[in-house]
Amino acid sequence: MREISVKTLIDVVEKLCIDANQYLPEDVKKAIKTCRACEDWDIACGVLDKIIENFEIAEREDVPICQDTGMACVFLEIGQDVHFIDGDLTEAINEGVRRGYEKGFLRKSVVKDPVRRGNTGDNTPALIYTEIVPGDKVKITVGPKGFGSENMSAIRMFKPSAGIQGIKDFILETVSAAGPNPCPPVVVGVGIGGSFDKAALLAKKALMRELDSSHPDPYYADLEKEMLEKINLLGIGPQGFGGKTTAIGVNIETMPTHIAGMPCAININCHVTRHKTEIV
């Protein structure tokens, strides 16, 4: 067993929260710039130029790219040969978030009760997802998630007879209904399969995947390309002012499901699709 002090994780999570909010991942920057080069609608070009200027200012001046520094989604891939020592793993992650959001001058956006509200003041609790994998390492990904786009997400439990067409229509319908609200150009995370809860998690995980990667199965890799093209024919454009660039990426994640069902979840993210990973 490899022993890892949970104290190490506090520092890593702190740094990942700050870095993720200040530096847009290379794949996202590249996708926005590629779309700018292909855009031919005036107002859309102006918006994309300002979006590029914005993430360059954030990077240069070490300030958050967006004021919604999100709810901290923390994904942990824990090697089965790891033994955590020196304390509580969940508390360590939350302490990392607490320190990161304070030290990085990040906005605390978490309320302690969904109905009665009241800010927790330190952006905790984080949303923590753990997965046990082979090996003796821990892979930590922090993906701060803004809620302008989160609020536009959707899940639907399809009958298997709806087939691939049902899923395609659902994706277009969801992006279309979201319109300007999720700060387009968006990234669309799609989760298909599993169960009601698993599909939603797959959709969120899809947002953490690089935009220049594709689903390992060519069938779904083609579907990603097809849906990106179709979304960009909707005409919504950057910020919803019209144009070719409505989405900069569609990532699909799949898993087996039950004979009776075909769950599909769509998690929308804005152009500030943040995620940062470190391996301990």
Binding site: K50, A58, G148, N181, G237, G240, G242
Partner: protein, 185 residues
């Protein structure tokens, strides 16, 4: 059309703006979002005065990040306006004319915009670092207990915005998409 506008946003000034115009705004604006709007509308319902004079005022739907030492304000992009739809007509009924945010508005808000000659401006969602550069002064006014949702007066210079809904009810979210799609036919 590119227009440079100096606030306050009088009825006459508001009438000169059209959906799709690019506007650079200079002057005092007020910050408020969900919880602040709820309080202001409760105050008005009780027949009490607001903490600032709403006449011809422009309200920015924003909840900035905390300022770093030396900064006037942290990153300060617009938040989703639709959440303020329940309160916007009331605010306009007491004189508030401009709203800055992002995203679609309900028909009741569009009706109020037409009725009170209001204007709905869009700021680029997500562009918090860029927009903070236009904010030259910040003065807290009320509701400081709400943290990022506190009510503040901001002095902005050349804040880049786009008119989304004008006082005739023209809506860039419909017109922009439709004219783009038409150009591709």
């Amino acid at each position: 059309m590119i227009k440079h506008i100096t606030l306050p946003l009088t009825r006459e000034l508001s009438k000169t703006l059209h959906a799709g115009d690019t506007v650079y705004l200079t002057g005092d604006i007020y910050t408020s979002r969900d919880a602040g709007h709820k309080r202001m509308c409760e105050t008005l319902a009780k027949g009490e005065k607001l903490p600032f004079d709403p006449m011809d005022a422009t309200i920015y739907y924003v909840g900035p990040t905390p300022a770093k030492p030396g900064q006037v304000i942290g990153s300060a992009g617009p938040t989703t306006s639709g959440r303020m739809d329940a309160y916007a007509p009331t605010m306009m009924s007491v004189g508030a004319r401009g709203m800055i945010g992002k995203g679609a508005r309900q028909p009741e808000v569009i009706e109020a915009i037409k009725k009170y000659d209001g204007v709905y401006f869009g700021a680029i969602g997500g562009a918090g670092a860029l927009l903070a550069k236009c904010i030259k002064k910040l003065e807290p006014i009320a509701y400081e207990d709400l943290g990022a949702e506190a009510l503040c007066r901001l002095y902005v210079e050349e804040m880049p915005l786009v008119v989304i809904i004008d006082c005739e009810g023209n809506n860039l979210y419909e017109e922009g998409k439709n004219s783009y799609l038409k150009s591709k036919e």
